[in-house]
Symmetry: C3
Subunit: 238 residues, 3 copies
């Protein structure tokens, strides 16, 4: 479901569950891989990628959400909401540089996960990033709104959350959602090169992660008393 490999200073976390839909088991395996990266010392950076050719991550595991008892391998349904948000709060303040290779569709929770990384590189010819809640008739949680608000220019934030716009790679690049696009062939290699270049910033984790806390943590208010990292992290409390 989640594989972690290392090549010099660069860890690569590969999601290998097809559409890579989020359920409690997926969250916990992802978190365990982060534990391993975080336990390392010295220069380091993380690349997050997908083994699929079509999907980065297609959102929630809706089959499981509809019938959790029919999918026990997907884990504790009741624990999911808060644990997912806490994981996002952990990624957005991760103490080493993080690079996301968006090789295909990133919808809903998958888009959130991508946006929590420091750098996004997206496939140019196919795939959309999209927060599709409005289209599905669902309210976007406050934590997710805070995340989008802090990461995107105002007009891009609005089109993303209110109009559920599907952004292609070139559109996402122009909008500032991703910082680079490329062909599928070579996308992972680009992400790994970028991660290798940023890895020295990860050597001082207290400094690198500490500044992200300042950017996204408690008191990083825009809309409400707290910023996205704090809201994501404390999602179980409110």
């Amino acid at each position: 479901m989640i594989e972690l490999s290392r090549e010099e200073d660069v860890y690569t976390l590969t999601m290998t569950a097809g559409e890579n839909r989020w359920n409690t088991t997926f969250v916990r395996e992802f978190a365990a891989a982060l534990d391993e990266v975080e336990a390392s010392t010295g220069a380091a950076a993380l690349v997050t990628a997908s083994a699929s050719e079509k999907f980065f991550s297609n959102g929630l595991d809706l089959d499981w959400v509809a019938a959790p008892d029919a999918h026990p391998e997907a884990g504790d349904r009741g624990a999911f909401g808060a644990e997912f948000m806490v994981l996002m709060g952990r990624i957005i303040t991760f103490p080493v540089p993080t690079v996301c290779a968006i090789n295909g569709h990133a919808f809903g929770a998958g888009f959130m996960a991508a946006l929590c990384h420091d750098v996004r590189i997206m496939r140019s010819d196919r795939g959309f990033v999209c927060a599709n809640e409005m289209q599905l008739g669902m309210k976007i949680p406050d934590q997710e709104l805070a995340l989008f608000r802090h990461k995107l220019p105002r007009h891009v934030f609005f089109e993303t959350v209110q109009l559920a716009r599907r952004w292609t790679g070139p559109e996402a690049l122009a909008a500032g959602i991703v910082s680079e696009t490329g062909e599928l062939d070579g996308l992972l290699a680009s992400a790994q090169r970028r991660a290798a270049a940023l890895a020295p910033l990860g050597a001082n984790r207290e400094l690198y992660g500490g500044q992200k806390e300042t950017l996204f943590g408690e008191n990083a208010v825009i809309n409400g008393p707290h910023g996205p990292a704090y809201l994501l992290r404390t999602a179980g409390d409110h």
Copy 2:
């Protein structure tokens, strides 16, 4: 002064007062048209357009402001400030998708009205959008600042409010002020097509409008205790 028509799910509100300058009568006719749209049920979207070939809306009715008694048809001068802001607060949180066809100049209050819509499509070859208060030696009200701040990227916000920049269609597109440009011929049709595509989002008005309240309502703080919708709406109270 204001005409409202309907074609399937798309309402078109056309301003037919030449330069479409804002006075109390204009505000109340605009509000009455919104009442009609809001009283409908099911999928719906609103297009706001101008019958003029040169002006979308050229700002306040300055003749009336200078000599209200000489223009009784323009309405109660004392009621204007708060009622105009309240109308803008209503548009920015309108519970169905709103598309604005900017066919010509949109200055001051006219630019505010355009910016309160969800989507803006602007004529490419002529016309400016501009908040010209600084050039006229007027302070921009807090409500208007909050509106611009929440809708525009930071550098665009600054050039707009502090330097009173006149943005052409192509410049407004690059800056994120509008999301599309086109020739005057076909501008209204483009806006109506866009509105038709977004109309299904308006079917659940509590959800669609409720999320805008979250984006722009009370506690949507950036500069002061409240966001633009709240400030616009309560302009009569402070």
Copy 3:
């Protein structure tokens, strides 16, 4: 170190100290030039430029920071931090339009100074703007974070402060960090033309500076209780 000249309504402040590194003496000479501009009346605007062909301002005077006693001409080391921030707070709310001609590298404190101006024009073929603290292993002070956060679109803010990106002129233009680029030859003249066009806005200093106070002053909260001008200005108190 600092030269000030005037041509009709346009003051030009030229930094003539080579790399134009910041120490207490440099801060005080810069402030004295601002005193002279501020003592004038009527339409006015300020251009800030460098006499160097390679550097706009290369950041802190690190030789002096490392060994202040060996460089007594650089001034009181203990006074520097707060006085520098206060100067930045003064520029960001300066009551006449300010235009910065970035003719070469602007790093750290030099980038901050450029960003406090109303308009930036940057050399297109050489030179970087960069907040290089993360690369140097230094925490970015809260005042500086607030400045960057209020001036830049979200994704540009993040790449600037967290990833210490070196922006070329064309990249800075696309990102909204500068509003114009040009060849070194003619850069100063462009800045002066722009300043002359904006100078009338400076005639009413209470209005022009007062609105900047609203944009950047106390209560201009995003991340913490106060905005960048307030934080910069009161840097000595906390």
